[in-house]
């Protein structure tokens, strides 16, 4: 691991003024953030638990190589970036959330009707790809890498955030040619999965330490609001997860 990669993310953010809400220049290398996705995990470990330091869940169930994973992580971070509100997609564990989702029923389209014949269809007819979501993600990431090389002769993670946004916008606007699916379809899946990873129960590996919920003032899995529902004032409630419900 290089010195640069060991550089703590928190220090980096402090020095760049990013965490404090400072202006982020176009020159910010997103690679700086995403390089650390695996090596410098989100700090969610609660030492006082007496638990292990290891985040056993932070490993690949779907992805096979680190570069693909980093491209995904950089994309998610652009959808939901770290800012003055709090952590972004990477720190929230969203890339691992998506990895795990792609490895399971969602990525394999087990509840979707996948019988042919397949036709493109009208936008009002929805998902008509013969590819499952995992395959769409694989192809989408491959295309992100190719477009970075052809537009900037760099890998996606080496681009500035503005350059990354330009590429992602081209995907969103369906300007990148893909076969069997469309770049817009990939982008929408990636965007939706990112938001899911930010706010799903932390048992799914995203929303680390319930930070997604805390930012949004959503209290998570509460049993009852019967004593608070009539309050004229906003009620700020410490969130709790399904894990803590099960262990009560």
């Amino acid at each position: 691991m290089s010195e640069q990669e060991k550089y703590s993310r928190r220090d980096f953010l402090k020095k760049s003024g990013y965490a404090a809400g400072g202006v982020v220049g176009g020159g910010l290398l997103a690679s700086f953030i995403t390089m650390q996705v695996m090596e410098d995990d989100p700090k969610t470990k609660n030492q006082s638990d007496g638990g292990s330091d290891d985040q056993f869940n932070d490993a690949f169930m779907f992805f096979t190589n680190r570069d693909d994973f980093r491209v995904l992580a950089s994309s998610c971070e652009r959808v939901f970036p770290e800012d003055e509100n709090g952590p972004g997609a990477i720190k929230l564990g969203v890339p691992f959330f998506i990895d795990h989702q792609l490895a399971g029923p969602w990525g394999n389209n087990t509840k979707e009707y996948m019988q042919g014949p397949f036709y493109k269809g009208e936008p009002t007819q929805g998902y008509q790809s013969r590819m499952n979501r995992g395959e769409i993600f694989r192809m989408g990431i491959k295309k992100l890498k190719e477009k970075s090389q052809s537009d900037y002769q760099k890998s996606f993670q080496e681009l500035s955030t503005e350059e990354q946004d330009k590429i992602l916008t081209a995907f969103e606007n369906d300007e990148v040619k893909m076969t069997g699916t469309t770049s817009a379809e990939f982008f929408e899946l990636m965007r939706a999965a990112t938001i899911e990873g930010v706010y799903a129960d932390p048992m799914y590996s995203g929303n680390r330490n319930m930070e997604g919920w805390k930012m949004k003032q959503f209290p998570g899995a509460q049993m009852s609001y019967i004593g608070k529902i009539e309050s004229d004032k906003f009620v700020d409630i410490e969130p709790q997860s399904l894990h803590s419900m099960l262990n009560k």
Partner: protein, 570 residues
């Protein structure tokens, strides 16, 4: 070779609200009833760890497995229909209790106007008011005739509510008082009163207090936990078929539910039905269940599909306009406006599925349509059903859909928006219908149901008019900025809208323009009852479940009469 089982009095195809109500009423009356449920058993204990938005709301834990069965969809006859490969626009249920488990519990009656819409419209505005191509017709039953059955269903559920000054006459007050109110509901009530409207609390199947129904079954008090729609209730506080009616059937000793039993055919001899054929989806074995009476009690889609597959009744032909099965498929439209509040933060994450306040000043013919180019209208409401964070990311217009500004705004406005919503009535149109798909098949080799549907001119005008009214209310409530819903374009199967699908096997007084009579008895098979929202001659502008429940009680009475006297009940 299918194995033929001993004959029973009644077999129901599906065990949700309608199958559960028939079972409770008929088994209690001494009939041997078998319920065939394609899914699995489930109960209140299964929902204790269910506050999981991803699993239930996004991954559809309680919903139909579309890999096995779905529908195909197209906007018009010129298009090629393609499978709805994943759920979206509406959420079909599966397993014991069906869609009755994941409902919100808003339990409105339809209004007298709905049942006599054609006569009342023509009487007041003349024959030209209903445009060509719209199959608007009276239901063959009046509100007053249906009232006792509404009363029975509401007693089974223990509905919490208060008198609505603009609704049809009630024979009894609601079984339990209205739910608690909230800051946002109070704001809506004040604003609508100031505008001269008559707000009332939404009748709710999330109960305000513990209640024992006519079967001696207990329904508990709602905890306002905010996980209703798309979820089951871990408190047994949201009336559903599994807690409110099915145990009554089971206690009679005359009821058997067979799970994993997927019906593939209603056996029809040209004048009567003799039973149903089904497959045990786990063993693959096929059975024939003979019965004196067959009741189709699945959701709208499959009620219609069984009639089409088993060739019972004349299929609707959109070219000639002849035939009735599959005709008059309706949906609903969703006018509304969202208010953004810079100064106030609301407890939007708390709530209950039917926690809300409504007005009916723009329902049916409660407002003058002389100068308007549409008929009917819709309920206008504020609800506090509990906004969950994945699905609720409201942002002011012009906010990008992702990135820094999206993040900031979606976080900020999550607790700072209040939506005034409506459910616009949906009228049958000649080009909106259900038939069998010629290409795509389900997991049992049967054709998928094909839906041909688009919004009509009537829908577009109604949407625009009611949206304006909702925006006025939002402004009156003091929103910093009000954003009205967009005008309607083409219907899309993709984004969730509402699970209020109706029609395809409608009721009426004339066999040439309806599939079933006012007892839900099929015109072409006297021992076949087709029960559910499939019988709605059009869709009203409120939630349909109360009317579905009322019709099920009506059908139960019809089946009792039929078993005594036989023949046509009308």
């Amino acid at each position: 070779m299918a194995k033929t089982l001993p004959k029973v009095d009644v077999v129901t195809v599906g065990v949700g609200w309608t199958g559960g109500i028939l079972a409770a009423e008929l088994a209690k009356d001494g009939m041997k009833v078998v319920g065939l449920e394609r899914g699995k058993e489930r109960s209140t204990e299964d929902y204790l760890h269910g506050h999981d938005e991803l699993r239930y709301a996004l991954r559809y834990e309680l919903m139909q497995d579309t890999s096995k069965e779905t529908i195909t969809f197209r906007n018009n006859r010129k298009q090629r229909a393609l499978p709805m490969r994943q759920l979206g626009s509406f959420l079909l249920g599966e397993n014991l209790g069906g869609a009755g488990v994941h409902w919100n519990g808003q339990t409105y009656r339809f209004f007298p106007y709905d049942f006599e819409i054609k006569s009342m419209t023509e009487k007041k505005y003349g024959k030209g008011k209903i445009k060509d191509g719209y199959f608007v017709q009276d239901w063959g039953i009046t509100y007053d005739e249906l009232e006792p059955y509404y009363d029975q269903f509401e007693k089974a559920c223990g509905i919490s509510g208060e008198e609505n000054p603009m609704a049809g006459k009630r024979s009894n007050p609601y079984p339990t008082p209205p739910m608690k109110s909230t800051r946002s509901l109070d704001k809506f009530a004040e604003a609508t009163k100031e505008l001269g409207y008559k707000p009332y609390r939404i009748p709710s199947a999330n109960l305000s207090e513990p209640y024992k129904n006519q079967y001696g079954l207990q329904i508990n008090a709602c905890q306002y936990c905010a996980f209703c729609e798309r979820f089951g209730c871990e408190y047994g506080a949201k009336s559903d078929p599994v807690i409110s009616v099915i145990p009554a059937a089971q206690e009679s000793g005359n009821y058997e539910i067979r799970y994993h039993s997927n019906v593939t055919e209603v056996i029809y001899d040209g004048s009567k039905v003799t039973g149903v054929k089904y497959v045990d989806v786990q063993s693959g074995e096929e059975f024939i269940q003979p019965a004196e009476v067959v009741a189709l009690t699945s959701y709208v889609m499959n009620n219609v599909k069984f009639l089409l597959m088993s060739d019972i009744g004349q299929k609707y032909d959109p070219k000639s306009g002849q035939g009735v099965v599959g005709r008059s498929y309706c949906y609903q439209i969703l006018p509304g406006a969202t208010g953004f509040y810079e100064e106030e933060q609301f407890n939007t994450f708390m709530g209950a599925g039917a926690l809300g306040t409504s007005i009916n000043d723009y329902y049916g013919d409660n407002f003058d349509h002389s100068e308007l180019d549409f008929i009917h209208g819709g309920v206008i409401s504020i609800t506090q059903t509990g906004k969950r964070p994945i699905a609720n990311n409201p942002t002011p217009p012009d906010t990008p859909r992702w990135g820094k500004e999206f993040k900031s705004n979606s976080i900020k406005y999550y607790t700072r928006t209040l939506t005034i919503g409506s459910q616009g009535a949906s009228l049958p149109y000649k080009e909106n219908f259900l038939d069998l798909d010629p290409t795509y098949k389900d997991a049992y080799g049967l054709p998928l149901l094909r839906m041909t549907y688009n919004f009509t001119d009537q829908d577009k005008k109604l949407q625009k008019y009611i949206t304006q009214k909702t925006a006025e209310i939002s402004e009156k409530m003091g929103a910093s900025k009000t954003v009205p819903n967009p005008e309607l374009t083409d219907y899309s199967i993709v984004p969730y809208q509402t699970t209020h699908n109706t029609g395809g096997a409608i009721m009426g007084a004339d066999p040439n323009s309806s599939v079933v009579n006012s007892y839900l008895q099929h015109w072409n098979a006297e021992n076949l009852f087709v029960v559910g929202a499939s019988a709605f001659a059009h869709n009203g502008g409120v939630n349909p479940t109360d009317t579905v429940g009322a019709l099920a009680y009506r059908a139960a009475e019809g089946i009792k009469k039929y078993r005594k006297n036989g023949g046509s009940l009308v």
